[in-house]
């Protein structure tokens, strides 16, 4: 009896250790892969055209979903904020509350999660399919470095696109928060805007953008890595896509905590 449970503990520890090791191993591999890709940014041939193409695809593909998410987030924050603040009789702070929540926290995080769902998953799937169908090898045979052509532009594109998308998210979120707070709930418009401007500091804006850049970067790194190292089968690509979405989302949330504690 005793020996059985002892065995079980050993096995459990063993598999935990293995899990930790493979995770570390994969993180190391992902880091090497993306750093070696990024290093090619400064090498000829210059991939500018491909970066712009990827940026365009990301921007166009994600704008609508970001706008919708931003609008509803602003609206619900105004409702919830009003409900809470009204208990203290400080409805006039609503504008500042909505703006700080969106700019510092919800814009970058929800924007990142939307980008993962909308674009990150398709980055992984696309690269995985290029692997399965030997297009990556074909590029290699035609003397085109797949890291420079396929991975690099996508990592750069998500890193640039997310801060832009998050800024749009913020603007739309603030505007729709204003509509709900002022037009619907009757908060004084002057107070709403005034409190908002006096409480939101430049460093709040910076904090939001730094987060967005960081999130965009790890989304690019994780999603390209998962696709590039996908097992070259149909199931392999499907599994890689799921893993990419989970890993990127968890990565964003963890990084968010770290950056928030850093900025407060």
């Amino acid at each position: 009896m005793m020996s059985v449970s002892f065995d079980a503990v050993i096995r459990l520890l063993g598999s935990l250790g293995r899990f930790a090791l493979t995770s570390l191993d994969r993180m190391g591999d992902a880091t090497t892969l993306s750093l070696s890709s990024l290093a090619l940014l400064f090498r000829r041939p210059w991939q500018g055209q491909h970066i712009v193409l990827q940026l365009y695809a990301l921007g166009v593909g994600s704008f609508i979903i970001i706008a919708i998410t931003g609008a509803f987030t602003g609206m619900v924050l105004a409702l919830q904020g009003y409900y809470t603040l009204a208990k203290f009789g400080s409805e006039s702070l609503l504008g500042a509350g909505v703006a700080l929540s969106i700019i510092r926290e919800l814009g970058p995080v929800l924007g990142a999660l939307m980008l993962i769902g909308r674009a990150g998953s398709s980055i992984t799937a696309e690269i995985g399919i290029m692997r399965v169908t030997e297009q990556v090898d074909a590029l290699e045979m035609m003397a085109i470095n797949p890291r420079a052509r396929v991975l690099l532009p996508r990592i750069i594109a998500t890193t640039i696109a997310l801060p832009i998308l998050v800024t749009m998210f913020d603007i739309i979120g603030l505007a729709s928060g204003y509509v709900i707070g002022v037009e619907l709930l009757g908060v004084n418009g002057g107070a709403y805007i005034g409190e908002m401007i006096s409480k939101v500091m430049l460093q709040d804006l910076y904090a939001g953008w730094v987060k967005a850049v960081g999130f965009g970067f790890i989304i690019g790194v994780i999603c390209t890595y998962m696709g590039y190292r996908a097992e070259p089968t149909t199931e392999g690509v499907a599994a890689a896509t799921t893993k990419a979405v989970v890993a990127a989302s968890v990565g964003v949330l963890i990084m968010n905590y770290v950056l928030t504690s850093f900025f407060l």
Partner: protein
């Protein structure tokens, strides 16, 4: 042109190639034949430096492909072409841009010149007029012919073919086989063809290498191979299921598996 020394490749426990030695001579068509899983694709990928050997060397015109630097490798690749088993056309580009890809990427040629070259390559594979088709709109056989045209775009010195005739109708297969033979003879191209199609292999080969489970069991001219004494060679040429090459690769006794008995050699 290519010399292979004691080349081995293992995937985990599986030994795909066991220390093979071989040569690919200039201006010849070398055909690598063998059954499924005999290591043909693995060998071809290492000849083209798409994969690194576990041990051994591949010498390409004096360069060791295992230790070559990327920049040098890419210069060599300008002299190589490859037709993949499943075509590997770039999905996002149409037929014209696929065939013109290397010309666009690596030359400063005028678009009108490129257009002429692409037209000529597509005519060679009988697909002129399909320039604006996307890869997804092509049948497997058509895609393969486009891949062929793409591999020839830069007039390479050596072209690697992985199963060039499989998945083609008999007429297209014949045309492709003839084309490989003609190009090798008339333009002094060097071809390395991987196939399990005995008929096409014997037809186009100057030299044949027969692989079986990662070992070379026979090599020589088509006539030498036809008259080879080894029972395994004859079995392969005739496609008989019985003989020294077992059709089944299973390692447990059939009856044991049916009766769900643990096999004696289930592991290893």
């Amino acid at each position: 042109m290519i010399r292979v020394e004691k080349l081995s490749r293992t995937f985990g426990e599986v030994a795909a190639l066991n220390a093979v030695d071989l040569q690919v001579r200039k201006h010849q068509t070398t055909v690598i034949m063998g059954g499924s899983g005999s290591g043909k694709t693995t060998l071809l990928r290492m000849l083209a430096a798409l994969d690194k050997p576990s041990s051994g060397h591949v010498w390409f015109d004096g360069h060791d492909l295992a230790s070559i630097r990327r920049k040098e490798l890419y210069e060599l690749r300008a002299r190589m072409g490859m037709v993949f088993q499943y075509s590997a056309l770039l999905n996002s580009l149409n037929v014209y841009d696929n065939v013109a890809f290397t010309l666009h990427e690596h030359t400063q040629l005028d678009e009108s010149i490129i257009r002429t070259m692409v037209t000529m390559k597509l005519e060679q594979v009988g697909l002129r007029g399909f320039e604006s088709f996307m890869p997804s709109e092509l049948s497997g056989g058509m895609a393969k012919r486009v891949a062929f045209a793409r591999a020839l775009a830069m007039d390479p010195e050596i072209v690697f073919f992985d199963e060039p005739t499989s998945g083609l109708d008999p007429i297209s297969a014949g045309v492709i086989a003839t084309l490989i033979k003609d190009l090798t003879q008339k333009t002094h191209m060097t071809s390395v063809v991987v196939t399990h199609d005995v008929h096409a292999g014997l037809q186009i080969a100057d030299y044949i290498i027969l692989l079986w489970q990662g070992d070379i069991i026979a090599e020589g001219t088509p006539d030498e191979i036809r008259q080879h004494a080894d029972e395994r060679v004859q079995q392969f040429l005739e496609g008989r299921p019985d003989g020294p090459i077992p059709f089944s690769r299973s390692k447990t006794a059939y009856i044991d598996d049916l009766l769900h008995k643990p096999g004696v050699v289930r592991i290893l």
